[in-house]
C-alpha cells in the first residue's frame, strides 16, 4: 500500500518535472521564419530611437549615446539588473550575433545560447514589432562603434537567479502575438498604437505590474509605482492625462515640457531624447493613440 503510494507520488513528480521542463523550454524562431527583406539602414536608425535602446544600453555618464557599452544598474523588487553591452564588440557586445539572434532576443526573449532573458529587457513589448523593423535595427546596430566593457552579472536572490524559471513567467505573460492593427481605428491611431505597444515599450513603465512582475493589461497605461525605487510613473491614457490635448502630448515628446511647462524628468528625460528624433507625424500618431486609450 505504502509502496504503491510512493510509486504514485514518484510518477506524479516525474510528470510534474516533465511538464516543467516542457513549459520552461526556451522557444525560438528559425531562419525560415524570417521574411525576405533587404535591410533599410535609415529605418534601422529610426527604430533605434523609437525603441529607446540607448536609454538603457548607452554607457552611463557618457555623452555619446551611441556607445552601447551597457552597465547601467536597473533596480527592481526582484533584485538588481545590469544592462548588457549591445555594441558590435565581438567579446563584450553582440558583434558575433546573426540577425536571427537579435530577432529571437527581442521577440522571444532568448539569447543565442538558448537561455531566457529577464523581462527587464522589454521583449513583452518588442514581440509586437514587425520582423522587418528588427532586421533593419540589426543592420544599424552593426554600423556602431564596438565598445569594451566589463558589466557585472545580475544581482538576484534565489529563486530569481534560476533563468529556467523564466519559462514559466513567459508562459503566463509572453503571448507571442505580433501587433494587430484595430480595423475600426484610423491609420494614424494604428501607427501610434504600434509605436507605443511595440518598439516604444511605453507600457513597461506606465502600466502597473502584478506580484510576479507581469503587466496588468486591463490597467493598460494607467500609471504605476516606479519599479526602480521612489515615486510614481503617471498614467498616459486620455483619462489620466486630463487637460492635455493631443498637441500637448506631441509637444512634450518633442521638447520635454508639459502643458504647464514643467520639465519631464527621471527616465522620461531619456525617452524624450529619443522621441525628439521621431518625425512630427509619428509624435502626432502616438498622441492620437494615447488620446484614444481610456482608463484610470
Amino acid at each position: 500500500m505504502i509502496k504503491r503510494l510512493i510509486l504514485t507520488l514518484l510518477a506524479l513528480a516525474l510528470v510534474g518535472a516533465g511538464v516543467f521542463w516542457l513549459v520552461t523550454a526556451p522557444q525560438t524562431l528559425s531562419e525560415t521564419d524570417l521574411p525576405d527583406h533587404a535591410p533599410d539602414l535609415a529605418n534601422g536608425e529610426y527604430m533605434f530611437y523609437a525603441g529607446g535602446c540607448a536609454s538603457c544600453h548607452a554607457t552611463p555618464g557618457s555623452d555619446d549615446k551611441l556607445a552601447l557599452g551597457g552597465g547601467l544598474k536597473l533596480g527592481s523588487p526582484f533584485g538588481d539588473f545590469f544592462v548588457p553591452n549591445i555594441s558590435p564588440d565581438a567579446e563584450d557586445g553582440i558583434g558575433g550575433w546573426s540577425t536571427l539572434d537579435l530577432v529571437n532576443a527581442m521577440v522571444k526573449g532568448v539569447s543565442p545560447n538558448g537561455s531566457h532573458y529577464y523581462p527587464a529587457f522589454p521583449y513583452t513589448s518588442y514581440q509586437r514589432m514587425k520582423l522587418e523593423d528588427i532586421i533593419d535595427l540589426k543592420a544599424f546596430l552593426d554600423t556602431l562603434e564596438p565598445v569594451k566593457s566589463d558589466v557585472p552579472p545580475h544581482d538576484l536572490p534565489f529563486p530569481f537567479n534560476i533563468r529556467r524559471t523564466l519559462g514559466g513567467w513567459k508562459f503566463l505573460y509572453l503571448d507571442g502575438k505580433p501587433f494587430e492593427p484595430d480595423p475600426d481605428a484610423s491609420d494614424q491611431i494604428n501607427r501610434g498604437a504600434y509605436l507605443v505597444t511595440g518598439p516604444g515599450h511605453c507600457g513597461e513603465c506606465h502600466t502597473p505590474r502584478d506580484a510576479l512582475g507581469g503587466l496588468e493589461r486591463d490597467k493598460w497605461l494607467t500609471g504605476a509605482p516606479s519599479t526602480e525605487g521612489e515615486g510614481t510613473v503617471p498614467g498616459i491614457t486620455a483619462d489620466t492625462l486630463e487637460g492635455w490635448t493631443a498637441a500637448d502630448i506631441a509637444y512634450a515628446l518633442e521638447s520635454g515640457f508639459t502643458p504647464d511647462f514643467d520639465s519631464l524628468g527621471s527616465s522620461m528625460a531619456a525617452v524624450v531624447r529619443n522621441t525628439a528624433h521621431l518625425t512630427p507625424e509619428d509624435r502626432d500618431a502616438i498622441a492620437a493613440y494615447l488620446e484614444s486609450v481610456h482608463g484610470q
Binding site: 521638447s255 515640457f257 504647464d260
Partner: protein, 149 residues
C-alpha cells in the same frame, strides 16, 4: 571674468541664503523658483510654437529669470529638507551635491550665454529655449522624483 562673476554671484547668494534660512522655508522657496522657471519657459515656448507673438523684452526677461533662479539655487537644499512640504527632490541631491550643483551651473551658464547675445528674433527664442530647456530635463532626469503621478 565670467568665472569671477559666477563666483561672486554664488558668494552673494550664499551669504544671503545663510542669513535668511531662519526666516524662510527652503522647500517652499525652491518650489516657487521652479514655478517661476516654468513660467519663463512657457513665455519662450509659446513664442516658439507661434501661440504668442514675438516679444523681445519678454523673451530676454525670461532668460534672466533662469539666471537669477539658478543663482544660489542649490543652497535651498540644506540638510533636513530632504522630506516634507510635498518635496519632489530626489535623495540623490544629498548623495551627490557636487553633481547637483553641476546641473544647476549648466542652467546658469546657458542663461548667461543667452544674455550675452540678447534675443532679437524668433530664431533667437528657439535657440535659447533649446539651450536652456535642455538643462531643465538634464537635472530633473537624476535629481527630481515625481510623486503625484
Amino acid at each position: 571674468m565670467k568665472r569671477f562673476l559666477f563666483a561672486a554671484t554664488t558668494v552673494v547668494a550664499l551669504t544671503g541664503a545663510a542669513a535668511t534660512w531662519a526666516a524662510m522655508d527652503p522647500i517652499a522657496t525652491r518650489q516657487a523658483v521652479m514655478k517661476n522657471n516654468g513660467m519663463a519657459i512657457g513665455t519662450l515656448a509659446k513664442m516658439a510654437k507661434g501661440e504668442a507673438p514675438f516679444d523681445a523684452t519678454a523673451a530676454n526677461l525670461a532668460v534672466r529669470i533662469f539666471y537669477s533662479g539658478s543663482a544660489g539655487y542649490t543652497t535651498l537644499f540644506p540638510d533636513g529638507t530632504q522630506t516634507g512640504g510635498d518635496t519632489e527632490a530626489s535623495p540623490k541631491i544629498w548623495e551627490d551635491m557636487a553633481g547637483f550643483e553641476a546641473k544647476n551651473t549648466a542652467m546658469m551658464e546657458a542663461a548667461a550665454a543667452a544674455m550675452a547675445t540678447p534675443i532679437a528674433d524668433l530664431d533667437g527664442v528657439k535657440a535659447a529655449l533649446g539651450a536652456i530647456g535642455k538643462t531643465c530635463g538634464g537635472c530633473h532626469e537624476t535629481y527630481r522624483v515625481k510623486k503625484d503621478g
